[in-house]
């Protein structure tokens, strides 16, 4: 297994040590990298999710920037209010970053998210997607992959519904920028944070966030899991500009999905046909992406 390097932070890190994430949490290095790109003139709004704990309990905070805890379902609306206040005060150059889990994004927060995207609020929204409600103990979300075990989709009743396509949902809102990112491709991710930083309007990054606790995986395998998800075609790396122009950033090597599945207890029950079905779904999704990318390229 090739060890992947998470980039070292030069200078004074904005996110400090001593946060409360589980060992191996893939969301935390991404948070650190995002803030390093955005800089200290940033305000974070985060709903109920693991980061309500990770940032630290009162009177501690691991973030070297203001951190606003919000109601679970409302972080895009809170952030819109923060944006409005900053604009009214003339602080138009301060970034507002929403940092939310998949539950807060795909499920309970979808209404407020859709509205903030429709208003094209000048915000950067990062969804770290660990594919379940982890903070409350691994319950299914609409981002949980089909077939996965969670505490509310237990053995024998694993999830039957397909994962929502966040890229399609956000593209339909015609937002200036949408991109996917993985810890296994840190340069690509940093470049996307940088690109998002420079744009205005509603920008979103969908970050694939392996979770050792929730996925029943070894905490050493988080980067590897990211890599296998990308290289098997399960989590493609792409960008969508203005909801129209889709750019594929990386062509998967089409490594067998079995290699991805086998590192995780949540797929322990997977038989060959389950893996094959997942592979077929990933292929179909990839073809849709390619089709879209070709359309944008023009005749």
């Amino acid at each position: 297994m090739t060890p992947a390097a998470i980039p070292k932070i030069d200078g004074d890190p904005i996110v400090h040590r001593g946060h409360l994430a589980c060992p191996g949490c893939a969301a935390t290095p991404a948070y650190r990298m995002a803030l390093q790109v955005l800089g200290r003139r940033t305000i974070v709004a985060a709903p109920a999710c693991c980061f309500a704990v990770i940032d630290g309990a009162f009177p501690h905070s691991a973030s070297g920037v203001p951190f606003l805890h919000t109601a679970f379902e409302a972080s895009p609306a809170y952030a819109s209010g923060v944006r409005a206040a900053l604009d009214v005060k003339g602080e138009t150059d301060t970034n507002v970053l929403v940092w939310a889990g998949d539950g807060g994004t795909f499920d309970i927060g979808l209404q407020a998210l859709s509205a903030a995207a429709e208003r094209n609020e000048n915000l950067l929204y990062v969804c770290y997607d660990n594919e379940a409600y982890m903070n409350t103990g691994i319950q299914r979300s609409s981002a949980t992959p089909r077939g996965a075990w969670t505490t509310t989709t237990p053995a024998g009743h694993t999830k039957v519904e397909v994962k929502k396509d966040l890229g399609e949902i956000m593209a339909a809102h015609r937002i200036p920028y949408f991109a996917t990112a993985s810890i296994s491709h840190p340069d690509d991710m940093m470049a996307k944070f940088e690109k998002a930083r420079k744009l205005r309007g509603f920008r979103m990054i969908h970050y694939f966030s392996p979770c050792p606790t929730g996925w029943k995986a070894d905490s050493r395998h988080m980067v590897e899991l990211g890599r296998r998800a990308v290289e098997s075609g399960l989590f493609p790396l792409y960008e969508i500009f203005d909801g129209e122009r889709l750019v594929i950033n990386h062509r998967p090597a089409w490594t067998p999905l079995r290699e991805y599945v086998s590192l995780q207890g949540r797929f322990k029950h997977f038989r060959d046909e389950d893996v094959a079905a997942m592979e077929a779904e990933a292929r179909a999704a990839w073809e849709r992406l390619e089709h879209r990318a070709r359309l944008n390229a023009g005749p």
Partner: protein
């Protein structure tokens, strides 16, 4: 579009309750407004959208997809240190419920106008107090208005009180009876309002120069202290209210008090009211007193913090108090009724009035002089209060048969 300073154009002198609420927010130089339409609140935000569009100070009106997000925007902006306002009614206020706790717990001076409207089902757009009183324990101060002037003044007063005490304040007006009824009002001059209500100076805010976390995990070793502080701040707001009202009176000549009383000293029966019914009650009391009946009136304007001490003073030695509730805590009493009982319980038995509870006027049923006279009569003839709340005017006859048209769903 032309920019105006409030008051530099000939200001309107006839306003509806809703327009007055909007003018109150405008004169307070509100910086971020976010709202979602619901009858009968709509004209508050329509008027305010129009006014703020012409304001000469930086401001934003955020058109959201729900009341829930409206309150969330106000919270975010208030954490950002600016003055924020919203308005809603019934279902909208109920939808905000979780966030009302977030605003109060965050110690944010958000001001909200609630146009009292009955809760569904069945759909009703008419007035009663069920919506606002259902939010009693969220940590918001609540003021119940009884005239259009009252509403205008109280929105400005609410910002002053909210920012002084770091608590959110709800200003409540009756649907239609106040919200859509035009009355002559006196608009304070902008310079006067500015003197009374200087720009907001937040004790804390989201500041990249001073990074802090807000609303994070609070263990059992801290939580209770923080809540006690909220409670005590509300109590202090109650203590400060007479002083702040006094300042307003010196500026405008208009006087208000958390509890207002007429003809209580010699009264056999005192009516206790809130909201627009208080105006009708004043007429009824005047009529009855002209007929040599010793009837008095107490209007409770400030509901949270509850003015218990003032009520004990005002009602000391009064034989009977009849409480009018345009609301019901189902399975118990009208809410003002139970609040008054709990506030007077500590009085010496000899000085403590007997308390009669009446529920009436739900879902916009008119509360006219006849209903109030009936309340006075029932209270006079009954030696002791009934153990249960008395419902006035709810006759439960054979209900009308609902007609279903064939083939229509």
């Amino acid at each position: 579009m032309k920019t105006i300073e409030p008051g530099t154009e000939a200001p309107p002198t006839i306003l509806t309750g809703n327009q007055a609420a909007a003018w109150g927010a405008f004169l307070s130089r509100v910086q971020v407004v976010s709202a979602y339409p619901i009858t009968p609140q709509t004209t508050v935000i329509e008027t305010l959208a129009d006014l703020t569009a012409r304001a000469d100070w930086p401001n934003r009106f955020v058109n959201v997809e729900s009341e829930h997000s409206a309150m969330a925007v106000c919270i975010g902006a208030s954490y950002g240190g600016v003055r924020t306002f919203t308005a809603t009614s019934s279902q909208g206020l109920a939808l905000m419920h979780e966030l009302l706790h977030w605003a109060a717990g965050g110690r944010l001076p958000v001001v909200l106008v609630d146009v009292n409207r009955a809760m569904a089902p069945g759909w009703s757009i008419w007035t009663d107090q069920q919506d606002s009183l259902s939010q009693r324990d969220t940590g918001w101060a609540q003021f119940y208005c009884s005239s259009v002037q009252d509403i205008l003044d109280h929105v400005i007063l609410a910002f002053r009180m909210a920012e002084e005490a770091s608590v959110p304040v709800m200003v409540v007006e009756d649907a239609f009876v106040l919200s859509h009824t035009a009355e002559a009002v006196s608009l304070p001059a902008p310079a006067e309002v500015d003197r009374f209500l200087p720009p907001r100076r937040p004790a804390f805010s989201l500041d990249v120069e001073k990074p802090r976390a807000f609303g994070g995990l609070l263990g059992p070793d801290w939580y209770q202290e923080v809540r006690k502080d909220l409670h005590e701040s509300l109590l202090r707001l109650g203590d400060a209210a007479p002083r702040i009202y006094g300042e307003w009176e010196r500026l405008t000549g208009r006087s208000y008090a958390p509890v207002e009383a007429w003809g209580v000293e010699d009264a056999d029966v005192v009516l206790l009211t809130s909201g627009a019914v208080s105006s009708t009650a004043r007429e009824v009391v005047a009529t009855l007193r002209a007929r040599r009946k010793r009837v008095g009136l107490v209007q409770v304007r400030m509901f949270r913090p509850f003015p218990g001490e003032r009520l004990r003073e005002v009602l000391r030695g009064v034989p009977k108090v009849a409480v009018l509730d345009r609301n019901c805590s189902f399975g118990h009493h009208g809410i003002f009724h139970q609040e008054l009982k709990s506030a007077l319980y500590s009085m010496e038995a000899a000085e403590r009035p007997r308390i009669y509870g009446y529920v009436l006027g739900l879902g916009g049923r008119d509360v006219g002089p006849r209903a109030l006279q009936e309340v006075v009569r029932l209270t006079e003839v009954r030696e002791a209060p009934e153990p249960e709340t008395t419902w006035i005017g709810a006759v439960l006859p054979e209900g009308p048969e609902q007609e279903h048209e064939e083939g229509v769903r």
